[in-house]
């Protein structure tokens, strides 16, 4: 069913009795041309773009849990392309462009809301670095505007401009950035992929890879053996665990990142605001809850929950820039498992095993990358060569010393 105002009116007039399930629930076939392991945002987007842009047929997505159970349903929903480095900025800008047309592409309301992102700066040196970043963004076709304190005051009068330790001097604004409804993105991609013939198989745990003479020919799953021409793995958070079954050790550690939501409030935060002196980012959901987060906990973890010291640190960050939120009551918090790569940038590449492809290492920036990650992984799977905006996201870049270290922190995953 195509969603539109007419389908809505039609259903309303007929008592909403004819809504069909959003995607099928097929049994796996014994062979597919392409199997995607991982039914998160990236896996589903990959399947969608393979079917819609690369004309591939006979595709399956295998998901261990259910659609929306992983990080696609556990993030702070921020969409932006304010990166600095050559290998990253074109990729994230491509992603933002895809976000802008996403709802039409997948015929689903993902509640894309381009209310802008403001990165606050607190010193002259930081202002200079934001000028540099803004210029880098504009050179790659993204939008960036440097705001002085007066301009910022007119947008966000509630910030603590006179903070003794970290006075707010201005901000770098990207107007096209914003937020999207995270699980609607998963459902929308799943539905759109399903409509193009992709089999989405839930509760299907991949237990092993079938590898012979350095060639991967399929996977063993909890629903039987599935053979495939090509296998793409997009299981960020569990990448090391899954790829260990194929005998690979990767430049990745799994860490826990926490996120927080307050009770619903009237609109107070315009767009996304980030703290430049600590680590804190905040936006307001359409329901009114303040959605915010900060650093990862810093130790390896596969538990989808974190500890209280980070909780405190994040709240202190919030209080430092906008004391008004101090009286909002916290409703809930949760944790997700991040693939922290050794340089803080992702990997979309072939593996040393033929016909086995890897999409991993998203650190805690995977949500905004969902469309471009899907597109570039689909391109790699269909054409056997990297997409033009993903040529530097290679698995062997650590070996070659060609790191994409946006933060300049070195091979220390918990610092990215």
């Amino acid at each position: 069913m195509h969603y539109s105002i007419w389908s809505l009116i039609n259903q309303a007039l007929t008592g909403n009795r004819n809504w069909a399930p959003v995607w099928r629930d097929p049994e796996p076939k014994s062979h597919y041309d392409i199997v995607i392991v991982g039914g998160g945002g990236h896996g589903l987007a990959t399947a969608f773009y393979l079917a819609s842009r690369y004309g591939m047929k006979n595709i399956a997505v295998l998901e261990k849990g259910w659609i929306g159970s992983g990080n696609i349903g556990r993030n702070t929903t921020i969409v932006r392309s304010n990166y600095l480095l050559d290998g990253n900025e074109p990729f994230y800008e491509k992603s933002l462009q895809l976000w802008e047309g996403l709802e039409q592409d997948i015929n689903y309301n993902a509640m894309m809301s381009q209310r802008g992102i403001i990165n606050l700066y607190h010193s002259d040196a930081q202002r200079d670095s934001y000028v540099r970043r803004g210029n880098a963004m504009r050179l790659h076709g993204a939008d960036a505007e440097l705001l002085n304190q007066d301009q910022l005051r007119s947008l966000c009068p509630f910030l603590d401009y006179e903070n003794a330790r970290f006075p707010i001097m201005g901000g770098l604004l990207q107007k096209r950035a914003g937020t999207a409804r995270h699980d609607a993105v998963a459902w929308g991609y799943a539905r759109a992929a399903d409509q193009r013939g992709v089999d989405i198989i839930q509760n299907c745990d991949v237990t092993d890879f079938l590898i012979k003479d350095g060639v991967c020919t399929g996977v063993e799953t909890s629903k039987g053996t599935i053979r495939a021409g090509k296998i793409g793995v997009a299981v960020a958070g569990s990448t090391s665990r899954v790829m260990a079954k194929a005998g690979l050790r990767l430049p990745i550690e799994s860490h826990v990142l926490q996120a927080f939501v307050t009770e619903g409030l009237k609109p107070v935060i315009p767009g996304v605001i980030t703290f430049g002196a600590g680590h804190f980012y905040i936006s307001q959901s359409d329901k009114g809850g303040l959605v915010f987060g900060g650093d990862i906990d810093g130790y390896n973890s596969y538990a989808q929950r974190g500890n209280l010291p980070v909780f405190e640190d994040v709240c202190e960050g919030g209080m430092a820039i906008m004391p008004m939120i101090g009286r909002a009551r916290m409703l809930r918090n949760w944790g997700g498992i991040m693939d922290m790569s050794m340089d803080g940038s992702p990997i979309i590449d072939k593996t040393p095993i033929d016909h086995l492809y890897l999409n991993a290492g998203w650190c805690y920036g995977g949500f905004k990358a969902t469309p471009a990650s899907g597109l570039c992984f689909a391109h790699l799977l269909a054409r056997d060569e990297p997409h033009e905006v993903a040529t530097k996201l290679r698995l062997d870049r650590f070996r070659r010393g060609a790191m994409l270290d946006e933060r300049g922190a070195g091979a220390q995953p918990n610092l990215h």
Binding site: S240, S254, N307, P309
Partner: protein, 151 residues
């Protein structure tokens, strides 16, 4: 998380900073023929297990000692804490014993080989006993874990 410091007793994990996998103690030999490969995997590749993980913690807000903490990455339960210096010393004393046995160049290679075999055998033996110990400790830890909240 509470880390039971060998000298200072139970301390909050927020007093510490973590470096990562305890295998970082075993820095490869930079003069070895395969130093290139060895340093690549030393610097970048990680086992990243879901389960028991030996990792280096630094008591930054305390006595500034390095600890090797064995922790479950699925439950955050801490199974074992030891001083990293003890572990590093144990490793180097093994090496120096091996080196003391060397006299001539010919003997050197011979002893190296047997030493390597021996250490390998010792390692597996040690691993077995360690595994037994951790298993025993695990059950013990599980018992205590149910009592106090090990988030």
């Amino acid at each position: 998380m509470i880390i039971n410091h060998p000298h200072l007793g139970p301390r909050d994990a927020s007093e510490f900073s973590i470096l990562g996998d305890a295998s970082l103690i075993n820095r490869p030999d930079w003069q070895a023929g395969d130093a290139d490969d060895a340093f690549y995997s030393y610097l970048y590749l990680r086992d990243n297990p879901a389960g028991l993980h030996r990792e280096l913690w630094f008591h930054e807000q305390g006595d500034r000692s390095w600890l090797v903490v064995t922790r479950d990455t699925v439950t955050h339960a801490i199974i074992d804490v030891a001083l990293a210096s003890d572990i590093a010393k144990a490793a180097t004393s093994k090496m120096s014993k091996v080196n003391a046995g060397k006299k001539t160049a010919a003997k050197k290679t011979a002893t190296k080989k047997t030493a390597a075999k021996k250490t390998a055998a010792k390692k597996t033996a040690a691993k077995k006993t360690a595994a037994k110990k951790t298993a025993a400790k695990k059950t013990a830890a599980k018992k205590t874990a149910t009592k106090r909240d090990v988030t």
